[in-house]
């Protein structure tokens, strides 16, 4: 093997490490379940250990390989250039999903691990290719396929309907992506003839189409139903990956695309996109926060919490349009994802320990299982974040860019309601223990899985709260796509 071939192999390994590990799981998970590796009854446990190992490896590979020229793979005209945000998603996502799979201990832990592995690989790959049609489409189809994989194996009508909703929105959003690409590519041509649509109206069209993709993906009001039902019906790994992590990657791509677009266009953008986004963002936070406070089902509380948190991203969209040079909205994406994921860790732990979905039946859970209680305290700390940290500055900049006092007030009430929804669950946990909670067997705190959960919760909360600096790595602008294809020959 020549030196050039060795270098190519190394860059391929560095560039495609998460994907390679996901592909390894396709062979390794069924293999480890075979009788030659142990008793058939313990197959699910072996699969769980395996996928936890692979997820940790994937996270480690994302961290070690990093982004940069040594990880860039060029095959013909195709360049796969891992981005910092992509690698950050993998480096954080690997351990987080490993904890969820380990804590959940479900019968389908192997399949759930594969959902997480492939989800992280798709995110890494999508953020490694130039922004535009291809990465958004890749994430949308990846999301739908993973939702189907997560829902499989159980004849549950609610699960199937949740995937059906996702399929429908993927069909609409991929079409919308093509239309956005078409309008974006038409902008340079619009100056060639006054009869064409103006640059400002085309820019508004692109902004509207891309904003709709973000609104529907992250589950902002009025597109929240899909996300809430997903959290209610799908396993936690699937709902987090499809409802939170993949939409977060889509949001980062669209932030980058809009930053580049708005910065390149000299004319002011037409239409009412901006006020719509500002109003939607603020109302989404309020709606999500109040709904999370009022619901009793744990899945729905988490779903509405995710909806409310997405309000920050919608306000971030408005901020990108107002100030295309700002990186504050980019810095909010990872912390928001981490807070919801930590809430997901809590849900997986509660589900595993109590197998209950109603908060009324879960009274006293925190007194009975204090380790799980600490995870939710971590969520509350992560939500508030460290005063004076970069996250507070980013939030202030995003909310300030809205330019409306009413919006600021509504968004702040929404943020308080979201925090209150967490405090409410903690208070329920500190109340008198219910009979079911009282009877539930408790695992000792020194159990390896409990220790891993606590250590993970500490790290996730630290990263989300800005104590560990991760958000700045997500603020790298993604690579712009190749400029619009050459205009038709007949154009003047």
């Amino acid at each position: 093997m020549s030196e050039a071939q060795i270098l190519l192999l190394l860059s391929a390994l560095r560039a495609l490490a998460p994907l390679a590990l996901a592909l390894v799981s396709l062979v390794a998970v069924p293999l480890i379940g075979s009788p030659r590796f142990g008793a058939p009854l313990a197959a699910a446990t072996r699969a769980r250990y395996l996928v936890v190992g692979l997820l940790l490896l994937s996270g480690g590979a994302g961290f070690v390989a990093g982004a940069g020229v040594t990880s860039t793979l060029s095959i013909g005209e195709l360049t796969i250039n891992p981005s910092q945000p992509g690698r950050l998603f993998v480096a954080l996502g690997g351990p987080i999903f490993a904890i969820i799979v380990a804590v959940g201990q479900g019968r389908r832990a192997g399949a759930m691990g594969q959902v997480a592995l492939f989800g992280l690989a798709v995110i890494d790959l999508a953020l490694a290719i130039p922004v535009g049609l291809a990465p958004i489409t890749l994430l949308l189809i990846g999301g739908t396929s993973l939702a189907a994989l997560a829902a499989g194996g159980k004849e549950d009508a609610e699960r199937a309907r949740a995937v059906f909703r996702d399929l429908r929105s993927a069909g609409v959003l991929i079409t919308l992506t093509v239309i956005a690409e078409l309008l974006r590519a038409s902008i340079p041509l619009s100056a060639t003839d006054p009869a064409y649509a103006t640059t400002s109206s085309l820019t508004a069209g692109v902004a509207l189409a891309l904003s709709l993709i973000v609104l529907a993906s992250v589950g902002a009001f009025p597109f929240h139903h899909r996300l809430v039902r997903m959290f209610d019906a799908l396993p936690i790994v699937g709902s987090l990956m499809v409802g939170v992590w993949i939409p977060a990657a889509i949001t980062l791509i669209i932030f980058s695309e809009l930053s580049l677009l708005i910065a390149a266009v000299n004319e002011p953008m037409g239409g009412a996109v901006l006020p719509i986004l500002v109003a939607t963002g603020a109302f989404t936070m309020l709606f999500g926060g109040v709904s999370a406070l009022l619901h009793d089902d744990v899945g729905e509380v988490l779903g509405f919490f995710a909806v409310g948190s997405s309000g920050w991203l919608v306000l971030g969209l408005a901020a990108v349009i107002t100030r295309p040079s700002t990186l504050a909205p980019h810095e909010l994406v990872i912390p928001a994802t981490l807070v919801i994921s930590l809430f997901g860790v809590w849900r997986a732990a509660v589900r595993r320990r109590y197998d209950l979905v109603s908060l009324q039946e879960l009274t006293g859970w925190a007194r009975h299982t204090s380790a799980i209680g600490l995870v939710l305290v971590g969520v509350a700390v992560a939500m508030v974040a460290l005063p004076g940290s970069a996250i507070w500055a980013a939030r202030a900049e995003v909310i300030g860019a809205s330019g409306s006092a009413i919006t600021v007030v509504i968004a702040l009430i929404g943020a308080v309601a979201l925090f209150a929804s967490i405090i409410r669950v903690i208070l329920i946990g500190l109340a008198q223990k219910s009979h079911v909670v009282e009877r539930t067997e408790v695992r000792r705190v020194t159990h390896p899985v409990t220790l891993a959960m606590l250590a993970g919760a500490l790290l996730i909360a630290g990263a989300a709260a800005g104590i560990i600096d991760v958000e700045s790595a997500a603020s790298e602008l993604l690579r712009p796509g190749i400029e619009a294809t050459s205009p038709p020959a007949e154009l003047p």
């Binding site: 059906f164 609409v172 064409y196």
Partner: protein
Amino acid sequence: MSSIGLELPLTIIATLGAALAVTSARRGAWIALIVTATAVALLEFQPTDTLPISLVLRLAAVFGAILVALPPGLLTPQALTHDLAPRRIVSTLAEHPVVVATALAGLLLGTIPLALPIEGSSTLLRSAGVALLLIGLPPLLTSRYVEATARAAVVTLSGALLLRAAILGPLDALSSIIIASGYAALLLTGTAVAGQLTKAEES
């Protein structure tokens, strides 16, 4: 590929196929979708001397996914003769006058330049694109049936891609691969979910 020679018949076939794909019963709809996907791919990639790899990938993805999704016994000559009989096609379309009217309106609307820099582009491609978008979107947004929704998604996406191709030409290699896998994912997920839903409702 000349406009009069192939684009016109392909446009008509794609539009007719799309209308049947969203209105026919299960087996007929799958056949119509195969026809539509083929016509759309030929219109989009415009093969001349050589067969573009993107076209081969697109057709392989769609045909492969439909083969998995097909109900058993679809490809028997008897079934095909039954579903492709002109009388049956006409009666299916006659039962859905709104879809036919939408298709015709789409074809007409596509001939009008929509203030985008598209005067230099192919009118027929644009017409087919707008028609497919208008045919596919309503069932994609409203249908209660999973497989019908997946087929409507394929029709709508095909329309958007035709509209794009009318102005910007065919997709680049990477986007083409991803879109081809998107078609396959939509169809396969639709079939899997439909099966899961049926089993869940039966049990």
